[in-house]
Symmetry: C2
Subunit: 353 residues, 2 copies
């Protein structure tokens, strides 16, 4: 596993120098906690963060409907090709808001730290978290830090929660899936899961494959701008992959989904890795992809809008919503065979996000 | 340690019966995850919870300023006299919102589960979480569940985030502490920390002492009703105790605080336990107490309003904000001696909340 080093130029701030590792006192609410927040976390999260990460922050609400989402991130290892737990924690929660059509307003960050974690590791994670938040244009406004004993957690868990403003007139949700809607994906699937697996297991699958982790709220805004209310459903296919997302939508809306297998973009390395490991790319986690269901008249405009952005360069239509009260998701193969897609039972790849 | 049993009448729901313990697949985003949510978490959180705990919930915002707060709960043991990790997770986050003067609107719940946790334990924790949320009148509207391997977490960690509406005209914060303000506490201090410690260490301190865990938003509403803008500061003295809260407020507002030691309500059992263990009751965590700073003209009305509620029956004035640019917190003893109170350095009692 890659050794984690501190951000370039980082030295342990003087008030923290009595400890080069996390101690229980860093979660005790006393001076050590205050030093950790003031001298390590706040500088990392950046000047846009609230001056003191108060117990509760005040967030301005410009719309009367807010999206609200939380996720715990426990990915192992903390760093993998193309990203880190910090990228997932920021982008994943932003994406959950974006899948409601919301503009992200603010993030909270809870940390659960294992006693003995090098402060340099924490500094790098916090630094990356701040960088990801600034890249997405969303502030970390409140937080919490707990420390548990050695062996009672695994290095660091990050829990982010986001609030976002849902623009007036926007109504996106699985119940709006309508027979005839076209199914669009924003790019190739499976890269995140395979990238984490390759790092964890020391496997290589030909050329370098990197996680797709990315914030998707700008893409959603571009899609809404051209499709308006004809954009019906959005989902980011994380754990359980594209299959789980499509099955959940189908079950919720009592519709069928028919996917053209040839149309689903699967990178060669993902296909090779899945073939070797007996995985289905449709079940592998993504962290910077979305699947959308759009009224057919607007589908091309939506795909064009997505393709105008780097993260959507390979957006394409992969199938259609059908009228099927049994809510089946069916994949048609090049030979014309239809196979039923189901949610995975459990966990193909533990601690993938 | 007390054995944790399932809620009365609980039997493992049929879809979960292949496992009587948490397995990695319960966090995998597939059918096992869906079964856990549908058959265990949602029934426990109650019918008022969103129908399906979506990745992102929609929350209505009736004011244009929202309070937003997150906390991770890692208390050990999960159950202690007077409460549980679930009570803390609900009440603690509600209280952080209330300390901004906000009316809590919605909660999110992230769970990090250790592989092998009995489902009966999870059922009891979830049941208590739902009961606490209903008692406080706040819905759990979204959530997330992750599972990590055995030995990579300690049973269950709960991370709750809350949003609340700040009524127009309400402006409560540490910067508003003003020399002359009276300092009010809502009741006896130190019970939570000592109750957890007694359970953890198998100690008894005379009669039964129970945690003070309670939601405080109704009390805050009652205080605002009589004091309005004369209610300047609110803080719930959790980790680090009353001392840490007062020191933080003093440092933020650049004021002094003078406390009359005789006026601070300390239960006999807390005093005895602290004496035996070398702890200062001012440093011991509370989970259902608040300290307020109020313009003197309204202080009696505020105390009366607090005393009209069960959780505030012993509310009293314990001191005053002073003009001290060195921001010292001073306790005057019965002998007239003044001693400086400081924040604890680290952690007197690890994993207290």
């Amino acid at each position: 596993m890659t050794e984690i080093v501190a951000p370039e130029g980082w030295t342990c701030p003087a008030p923290l120098r009595h400890h080069d590792r996390v101690v229980l006192g860093h979660g005790g609410g006393g001076r050590l906690s205050a030093d950790l927040i003031e001298h390590l976390l706040l500088p990392a999260y950046g000047s846009a963060a609230a001056a003191d990460l108060p117990d509760a922050a005040v967030v301005h609400a410009a719309t009367d409907r807010l999206a609200f989402s939380t996720d715990a991130y426990v990915v192992r290892p903390l760093y993998f090709p193309g990203g880190s737990i910090a990228d997932l924690a920021v982008n994943g929660t932003i994406n959950d808001l974006a899948m409601r059509g919301a503009r992200p307003s603010a993030l909270s960050v809870s940390l659960i730290l294992e006693e003995g974690l090098p402060l340099a590791t924490l500094a790098r994670v916090a630094d990356d978290l701040g960088r990801a938040a600034r890249a997405a244009g969303v502030d970390v406004v409140t937080g919490d830090t707990k420390v548990v004993g050695k062996g009672q957690a695994d290095e660091v868990f990050i829990i982010t929660t986001g609030v976002g403003e849902i623009p007036d007139g926007v109504d996106i949700g699985p119940l709006r899936a309508t027979p005839g809607d076209l199914v669009v994906v924003s790019g190739p699937i499976g890269a995140h899961g395979v990238a984490v697996l390759s790092e964890r297991e020391g496997l290589t699958f030909g050329t370098d494959l990197v996680s797709d982790t990315a914030p998707l709220h700008e893409m959603v805004a571009a899609m809404l701008a051209v499709a308006g209310d004809d954009l019906h459903v959005l989902r980011d296919p994380t754990r359980g992959g594209l299959a789980a997302s499509l099955c959940e939508i189908a079950a919720t809306a009592r519709v069928g989904v028919e996917i053209d297998e040839r149309a689903v973009p699967v990178p060669d390395q993902v296909a090779a890795a899945c073939s070797m490991l007996g995985l289905d790319p449709m079940h592998v986690a993504n962290e910077g992809r979305l699947v959308a269901m759009v009224a057919p008249a607007r589908a091309q405009a939506v795909v064009d809008a997505m393709r105008s952005l780097a993260d959507g360069a390979d957006a394409c239509v992969i199938g259609q919503v059908t009228d099927d009260p049994r809510a089946r998701v069916v994949v048609r193969t090049p030979l014309g065979v239809a196979r039923i897609v189901d949610r995975p039972m459990g966990e193909q790849l533990p601690r993938i996000c």
